[in-house]
């Protein structure tokens, strides 16, 4: 006996668009988080520390482009570059525009509510980009973050958890894992290069800021109490329950990947599954001490490179279907 339900095939183009829609929304949210937390952090630091805005440009990996076009990393320059610059492909404005373009091309696949939410977010940012934000900056960051959360919630409760939905979650999870590693990386190597500062009250403030930038401060406190750098790294890298921890994100991505292919967890049928499964296992059984001893920055570099490879595998396995691959023409 079979159910009359037929699996609806998913166009490769559509899969690619929803995957990128997920990635771009997540990216926009993270950039808004970076700006917000940095602004907060600057207010807590004594004047001697100066204004440190360069590190958040480094988080997004766009240092050369920024230096070339803006030069000095003042607050106004950085906010303009990260929030509204249409020539910066990773600005909030560019990400939301790209997410919307992707959403528009798959409007019949996602729910109308999801489309409307992305469209409202776009209209919000288009409007704000014409204003001179200063006092309004925290409120703006909060609105972007909440709009992205709302999108995630709407996606969860208005769209069938089908193949396309899993492609969105795959994109979102990979993007989030990448951004969490970048936040940690910047804190560890750029924001605080001097060993003398370690353990000072300012160090405590900065690590708290890192946790807050991923909404992890409260959850961290519940697990570990005192703020200690190695515990913060452990929490954001290896926690299995906190939704922005790298290990958690990779696990979620792997679950979605297996939901897409139908292969059971723990086995693989394509390059993406093999690579993602390997990474998942390593994080599942990793201990933070050897990672810190071997060098966190090197570890993050390796992690980011592997996630880029996974992204390329997703493209090869699912988006760039060649006719030859359709050996079993359905």
């Amino acid at each position: 006996m079979t159910n009359s339900y037929q699996r609806r095939p998913l166009l490769s183009r559509v899969a690619e668009s929803v995957y990128w829609m997920g990635r771009y929304i997540e990216r926009a949210e993270n950039v808004a988080r970076f700006i917000d937390v940095n602004q907060n952090l600057m207010l807590d630091l004594p004047s001697g520390f100066g204004q440190q805005w360069q590190p958040i440009v480094d988080t997004t990996g766009d240092r050369p482009a920024f230096l070339e076009r803006y030069g000095e990393a003042t607050k106004a320059n950085v906010v303009q570059f990260l929030a509204f610059d249409t020539e910066n492909p990773n600005s909030i404005y560019s990400c939301v525009t790209a997410a919307r373009e992707n959403a528009r091309s798959v409007r019949e696949t996602i729910s109308s509510e999801m489309w409307e939410q992305i469209n409202s977010l776009y209209l919000l940012i288009a409007m704000e980009s014409r204003k001179n934000l200063d006092e309004g900056l925290p409120q703006f960051c909060r609105e972007v973050r909440m709009a992205c959360h709302l999108f995630t919630g709407i996606k969860h409760s208005t769209m069938s958890h089908n193949e396309a939905w899993h492609f969105i979650r795959l994109g979102t999870s990979l993007e989030r894992a990448d951004k969490t590693t970048r936040i940690l990386d910047v804190k560890y190597f750029i924001l605080l290069p001097s060993v003398a500062d370690v353990g000072t009250p300012y160090d405590d403030i900065q690590w708290s800021a890192v946790l807050k930038s991923v909404s992890g401060f409260e959850m961290y406190r519940k697990c570990y109490g005192r703020i200690a750098p190695e515990r913060v790294v452990e929490f954001l890298l290896l926690d299995g329950e906190f939704p922005r921890a790298v290990r958690y994100c990779i696990g979620l991505a792997d679950n979605s990947l297996h939901a897409i292919t139908g292969t059971r967890l723990g086995a693989f049928s394509c390059a993406t599954e093999q690579r993602l499964g390997l990474l998942r296992s390593e994080l599942d059984y990793a201990h933070v001490d050897p990672i810190l001893q071997a060098g966190l920055h090197e570890f993050f570099d390796g992690l980011q490179a592997r996630m880029n490879t996974i992204d390329e595998c997703v493209r090869g396995d699912f988006f760039a279907q060649k006719i030859a691959q359709g050996a079993g023409l359905a």
């Binding site: 095939p9 183009r13 528009r104 019949e108 109308s112 489309w115 699912f318 279907q321 359905a330």
Partner: protein
């Protein structure tokens, strides 16, 4: 807002008789509108516009900078059609679409109508929209016009005339469905009181139509909608219809022809496609068969279609009957194929390839509307009374050079409907585009798209030229002068 100051200015008005007395079937609407408190209607109007923008129900304007999306202007005052009047329109449309279908099938087979001298052979075979690639083709059920969006106008004499047939890829039906959703929220009581015929069945009927033409009468065919992509002005409609029918929205690059069949590229390999509702013009459909520079189409699609491996709606080649010169012969077609007099008349049309007509047209350019035989969307036309001497000279030159490509019609005093302008009502000219589906049988969606020339005095209703729309209500029952009836 009140209608007391409203002036019909001597035009046929859809709501008021010449003396300013409301027509019987619109009284309930007028009472309701007048009972609303001050500013109520304007608040509704702004809320509706915000909603449309938020829902992203926008269209792109060609030649405008990237990202220029506009909402299609929408007026809250509906156009109401009485039950008896609609019966007449519906019968006329069914008769006309049936005859057009017979004509196209005849042209691509025996050409009896040409052999019998009813229409000059030259006129048909010289049409740019005649496709010799379609000669001898037998589309499923011999249907060529699956979706038609006939343009009707009502003249100063109160009669409906057919202005254009729009057989190729007519658009606009999504606005019919969306406008109705907005008005149901604004005037619920009027809907109940007047028994307005619903339009919501359209997408189900369209899907049935498309499934009915599947090759080899497949019981569960895969139907897809082929769009040129997000930069097309009608993209919203394409995604809307695909969503409402639950079918895949595909672009040319998603499809591939292999071993004579059409497949779409999915994450799990290639999946067969049986029926394509294409919203791409013939010219761009298949670079191997038509324009070789088309990037929107699918190489090999025409040959899959010719071999009966996939069905296309609308059928390629059906635009031959859209040529404005051939349009002039539709009444003859109806007499020839149906053995009946046309129920809906054509607008009188001068054909410039005829010497007498041409002489008349050239002498009366300032009074006539001149159209290019193969253009649509309000492009390539001259509205005589609104034209400059230089424009008329230019058209005169073009007519002399290529008489086959030009027709002319009298400038019609299109009927008007009260429309919100700032804080009061003014009459604006309208046309009516009902949608006709043809598969196993012929179905006409009750009402259609009422397009409005939003600019004062303008007669051009096309959205590309600043036109807007109104909801169109077809009443289910005849209204007595007393009002509501069951």
């Amino acid at each position: 807002m009140h209608f007391s100051e409203y002036d019909t200015q001597g035009f046929y008005d859809e709501m008021f008789e010449a003396g300013g007395k409301p027509r019987p079937h619109v009284r309930l609407l007028i009472e309701t509108v007048e009972s609303l408190s001050d500013g109520h209607l304007l608040r509704y109007k702004h809320a509706a516009e915000r909603l449309l923008l938020q829902m992203g129900i926008t269209f792109n304007v060609y030649g405008d900078s990237a990202g220029a999306e506009r909402i299609f202007p929408f007026d809250l005052i509906p156009r109401i059609i009485a039950a008896g009047e609609w019966d007449h329109i519906e019968r006329g449309l069914k008769q006309r679409v049936h005859a057009l279908n017979c004509f196209i099938d005849d042209i691509y087979h025996d050409q009896k109508i040409l052999a019998n001298g009813v229409i000059p052979r030259d006129v048909v075979l010289s049409a740019t929209s005649y496709r010799k690639q379609c000669q001898g083709l037998n589309p499923p059920r011999r249907v060529w016009c699956h979706v038609t969006g006939t343009d009707l106008v009502r003249g100063g004499d109160g009669r409906y005339y057919v202005l254009e047939d729009n057989l190729r890829v007519p658009s606009g039906v999504s606005y019919v469905l969306e406008n109705r959703e907005v008005l149901k929220r604004i005037f619920p009581a009027v809907f109940e009181g007047l028994s307005v015929r619903p339009v919501a069945a359209y997408t189900s009927r369209l899907l049935e139509t498309l499934e009915s033409i599947a090759p080899m009468a497949l019981s569960n065919p895969r139907v897809v909608l082929l769009t040129p992509g997000i930069y097309n002005s009608a993209y919203f409609e394409h995604s809307f219809l695909a969503q409402q029918m639950g079918i895949q929205l595909v672009e040319g690059r998603d499809l591939v022809v292999e071993g004579g069949d059409v497949f779409m590229r999915t994450t799990k390999g290639m999946e067969r496609v049986d029926v394509i509702y294409r919203r791409i013009d013939d010219d761009f459909l298949d670079p191997e068969a038509f324009r070789p520079d088309s990037l929107l189409g699918v190489p090999g699609l025409m040959s899959a279609y010719q071999n009966g491996r996939v069905a296309l709606a609308n059928a390629p080649g059906n635009g031959v009957a859209d040529d404005k010169v051939i349009y002039a012969y539709v009444p003859e077609m109806i007499r020839y194929y149906e053995g009946e007099e046309p129920i809906l008349p054509n607008v009188p049309t001068y054909l410039c390839w005829r010497g007498d007509d041409r002489a008349y047209v050239l002498e009366h350019l300032a009074e006539l509307v001149v159209k290019t035989a193969n253009e649509s969307g309000g492009y390539g036309m001259l509205v005589g009374p609104h034209s400059t001497a230089a424009e008329r000279e230019e058209f005169a030159r073009r007519i002399e050079a290529q008489p086959r490509n030009y027709i002319a019609q009298p400038t019609l005093a299109l009927s008007r409907v009260p429309t919100i302008v700032d804080d009061h009502f003014e009459g604006r000219h309208v046309d009516l585009r009902p949608y006709v589906l043809c598969g196993k049988d012929i179905y006409v969606v009750p009402g259609g798209l009422t397009r409005v020339a939003m600019k004062k005095g303008s007669l051009v209703v096309n959205s590309s030229q600043g036109g807007g729309s109104k909801d169109t209500w077809v009443l289910a029952y005849p209204q007595s002068a007393g009002g509501q009836q069951q």
